[in-house]
């Protein structure tokens, strides 16, 4: 649309004005730009303009073979890179019909859930920071750091992991890793109570989030939203539960849902509860991790899925992340479409934001937990 990049506001109405939030703005979590049409503090229309951080992941996938794209995968969403990295591995395994050894599956689940907790922690910190509370931000980063240390000890990286391989994982975990993970779970339970005392029970926080940015079930159906935003509206949908992949079917966990109709506070409670559920999964996984190989015995030297279309979806920290691969039987995919949840979630902003206050923009944007490189892929 040509008018979305129009910089000069409509001068015919002197009572209203345009405000560019972004691309450089402290609370757009990256280079997202939202053009707001305001009347005083009230928003008349909101127009998210994306593309400032475009890195052409999809196009890059069409120019290199499957293994060469693997390091890209965790850079799609740098906050839950492990989940995206493992998702890509699982998509290729799905295309190749590779069986992954049980030990590797459990390791993947532990790492993925740890990464999910770290992503939600970062969300909590930055969200409260957006609302003006500075202290929870540092608490959350402190705890996130502990998870990064644990993942660092087996993967060698702290943010953009490349831990998965087609058919398994690169490194085996040792007892130290398992013990540290178990210790972290024990420690984090007490910390979660502190977060509830400091953030969830705070009157100002509740005033700022309750009945703000309601994303209703109708809107969710129209836009195909997923993840915590969807569950906050009361729909118990989770790819891990509905179409279990990679061994999730053997674990017992709940899908938390919101009970207030999908406002910002619902999204908060859902994410807080998801951290508890992730810990439940980790603890069960630590108890049942078997011995055995961490790589499938027969992984082909050259990755050449048979010609056809393959789709594989996982539940990332932000929602339904799908990889659609069209193969012509060669080394290089014809098309590698990434279905990323943040892109879908941010596309509801023109509907959700009008009518709210300027300060709510920050709250709503923060509560849907966007990661800009995941929008611009």
């Amino acid at each position: 649309m040509a008018d979305t990049i129009e910089l000069v506001p409509d001068a015919s109405d002197p009572e209203t004005y345009f405000l560019n939030m972004g691309p450089q703005h402290p609370s757009t979590h990256g280079v997202l730009r939202i053009r707001l049409h305001l009347e005083g503090e009230r928003i008349l229309s909101a127009d998210p303009i994306i593309g400032y951080g475009h890195r052409a992941h999809e196009k890059m996938a069409e120019n290199r073979d499957y293994l060469q794209f693997l390091p890209n995968s965790s850079r799609i969403d740098y906050l839950s890179g492990m989940i995206y990295n493992l998702a890509y591995c699982q998509a290729i395994e799905h295309a190749l019909e590779l069986e992954v050894p049980e030990r590797a599956q459990i390791i993947r689940i532990i790492c993925g859930e740890l990464n999910r907790i770290s992503s939600h922690l970062l969300w909590l910190g930055t969200f409260v920071l957006d609302l003006g509370g500075f202290t929870p931000f540092l608490y959350a980063f402190d705890d996130r750091e502990k998870i990064l240390d644990i993942l660092d000890s087996i993967t060698g990286s702290r943010l953009t992991y490349c831990y998965g391989r087609f058919g398994g994982v690169t490194m085996d975990v040792d007892d130290v890793f398992l013990r540290r993970t178990a210790d972290f779970c024990d420690y984090f339970k007490t910390r979660l109570n502190e977060y509830h005392e400091l953030v969830t029970d705070n009157v100002i926080y509740q005033h700022r989030t309750r009945n703000v940015g309601v994303i209703s079930t109708e809107l969710i159906q129209d836009y195909a939203l997923s993840g915590p935003v969807l569950r906050a509206a009361g729909v118990a949908q989770d790819v891990r539960k509905d179409e279990p992949y990679g061994g999730y079917e053997r674990f017992d966990f709940d899908v938390p849902v919101g009970d207030r109709g999908g406002d910002c506070f619902d999204r908060h409670t859902v994410r807080m509860e998801e951290m508890v559920q992730s810990m439940r999964i980790i603890e069960q996984a630590l108890a049942c991790i078997p011995d055995g190989p961490i790589m499938a015995p027969k992984v082909p030297k050259r990755i050449r899925p048979r010609a056809g279309d393959y789709y594989f979806a996982v539940e990332s920290a932000r929602g339904h992340f799908g990889i659609f691969i069209t193969s012509d039987g060669s080394d290089v995919p014809v098309r590698n479409k990434l279905r990323t949840p943040s892109f879908v979630n941010v596309s509801t902003m023109p509907v959700v934001l009008p009518g709210t206050m300027l300060a709510d923009t920050v709250a709503v944007l923060g509560s849907i937990d966007i990661v800009v490189p995941e929008i611009d892929r």
Binding site: G132, H207, R208, A359
Partner: protein, 324 residues
Amino acid sequence: MMDFPQIFGGHWPAVLAATVAIMGFITVNALALIWLERKVSARIQRRYGPTEVGPFGLLQTLMDVVKLVGKELITPDHVHKTLYLIAPVLVFAPLMALLSLIPIDEGWLFHDYDIALVLLLAFSSLNIIGIFAAGWGSNNKYALLGAVRAVAQNISYEIPLLLAVIPIVIMTRSLSLYEIASAQASYPFILVQPLAAIIYFIAGTAETNRAPFDIPEAESELVAGFHTEYSGMRFGVFFLAEFTHMVIICSVATILFLGGWNGPVLPGWLWFFLKVYSLILVMMWFRWTFPRLRFDQLMSLAWMILVPLALVNLLATTVLIKLL
């Protein structure tokens, strides 16, 4: 034309000395408070805070001031020059006048005005003109929004502030800060006016534009609010003004409700500063614990809760005074 010595009725050496003393206090106090704020926030957030420059990082703020002073003063092309340049002065000047009104100990004040309290409330509303000049003169949407919010907020909170002060005036039958503090020799007024004290402190925190009422400079929405376009020492002056304003609000709270310099054992001025800085610590504690209120919530807090409560309190006080 008047000779310079004739200005201030011939008391100009005293006035000059007082000005220098106040400027010195403002600077040293701001340096100390910024250091304290960093250390307090660090302790609350499980960090160390500044440790490198000087013992316990005491000289860190001084180094920052040196940096601010050394920075080039940038005046953007699109600003309204006069307003832009005069705004920091407008924000800062009333605070100096305010400080000169405050009695620190028995006999420790520049002049005992009969109407010190009125002067105080009048001068403290003046600095909003500077804030608005900064926001309007910056010719920037974020700055303007911040300035509009600041004006609305300060005007709204002036009313509960005033209503919380009036019961004290009725009780002491005086507008002199010195007499009000002296009247609390036996007990501080917070014991008889707890509601007024709380309302005053909430409204006072809002007057200083500090969290959770830092809506005019809400960094996640408005980048830096009214001082978005300011840098270098011009920004430093706004910063200085904020910390001085904190001291004034807390000093007045000490005089009106906590008994000023009255206290056992310790000398009066020590009691006074002890009380003032304890209140400032409470303000810092607020800032590092609470998220920010939304603009409309801030307004409804002032008009729907604080003003009615203050009115009820005022009415109760007058009735009780009449009956007793």
